[in-house]
Symmetry: C2
Subunit: 190 residues, 2 copies
């Protein structure tokens, strides 16, 4: 998966592992987070597969760098990946796995649990409002406004997801709180 993300970036222009790591952090982090170590490893297999070639560039005052350039075979592989249909609808969610079994904890513990989720989602939105995916940096790389459209779609997805998530969490909290009142003598009518 990450392999093809890297290939996609290399297709915009030649760059180093270091560059790739930073683009992931700045512009793709909210739907994919890439470990430095994995990026360097994938670059090795990309090279081994002949999807990119590397060239060592000396710099002064800075360490040498290894610039990767996509090959025709790499572009073909990128296109193959984009065309292949294996995008299954489905939500592999570690969070739901936990929610599913929360009956083992007390009502109060679970209210705390969901309130923490709520806070995380607020924090996420706040962080996003402070530093949205870095438009300028990405525009430098991507240039073509037509291509930026797809980037915008992923951001819209992130925002819609975040909104839906918050609604779900609030709904869960409401249900738990109603149960709590029922337990402690039905104070809802007062």
């Amino acid at each position: 998966m990450l392999k093809h993300g890297i290939l996609g970036l290399l297709n915009y222009g030649s760059m180093t592992g270091y560059d790739i790591v930073h683009i992931f952090k700045d512009s793709l982090s909210y739907f994919w987070n890439a470990q430095t170590s994995q990026v360097y490893r994938e670059l090795q297999t990309i090279k081994k597969n002949g999807w990119a070639a590397d060239e060592t560039v000396e710099q002064d005052g800075k360490p040498d760098k290894k610039v990767f350039t996509i090959t025709d075979s790499g572009r073909a592989e990128l296109k193959r990946w984009l065309t292949e249909d294996n995008v299954e609808f489905g939500i592999r969610s570690p969070l739901m796995m936990k929610v599913f079994f929360r009956g083992e904890c007390s009502l109060d513990e679970n209210i705390d649990f969901f309130e923490k989720l709520q806070n995380d989602s607020y924090a996420f939105d706040y962080k996003m409002s402070l530093s949205p995916p870095d438009t300028k940096k990405y525009a430098e790389i991507i240039k073509d406004p037509m291509k930026a459209l797809y980037w915008k779609m992923t951001i819209e997805y992130g925002m819609m997801y975040s909104k839906m998530y918050r609604q779900w969490v609030e709904n869960c909290i409401r249900q738990l709180e109603e149960l709590k009142y029922e337990d402690t003598g039905d104070q809802r009518k007062s």
Copy 2:
């Protein structure tokens, strides 16, 4: 992750690997899909960790089975996992990775792409309406209505996600179709 899901199920009652695989298929598949091979492997490590004990039961007319029973240490581990806070808000999405780079394909190809996503989501909803997560089977296992609440929450999440997803896809298609009309001479006003 799956390890703890299995532990959660064993906590409801002793069962075999085969049972676990089927419960995952019937009731948890829409947020986690478990491979048979992985289930059997995880059961081995669960046993090795002392979280469950196994007992071979002979049957007539059917192959022998290995029934796993959770231990106190297993219950403690389940509780530890539920209590530990590592539920990061964030959406690791292979789909978004693909959407991000779709600028490499033509408008028409991309309209097809999103229409396929739309169909998948319709198919998912239809399948869910025909056979929603198997209430009866799950009720047999879970019994306690208080615990079933958390199961219901995961289903609500699935439905809300599915709705949001469809809206997002429709929104994407709309944007692409507008662009198409602009390209072919702005027929929107007619």
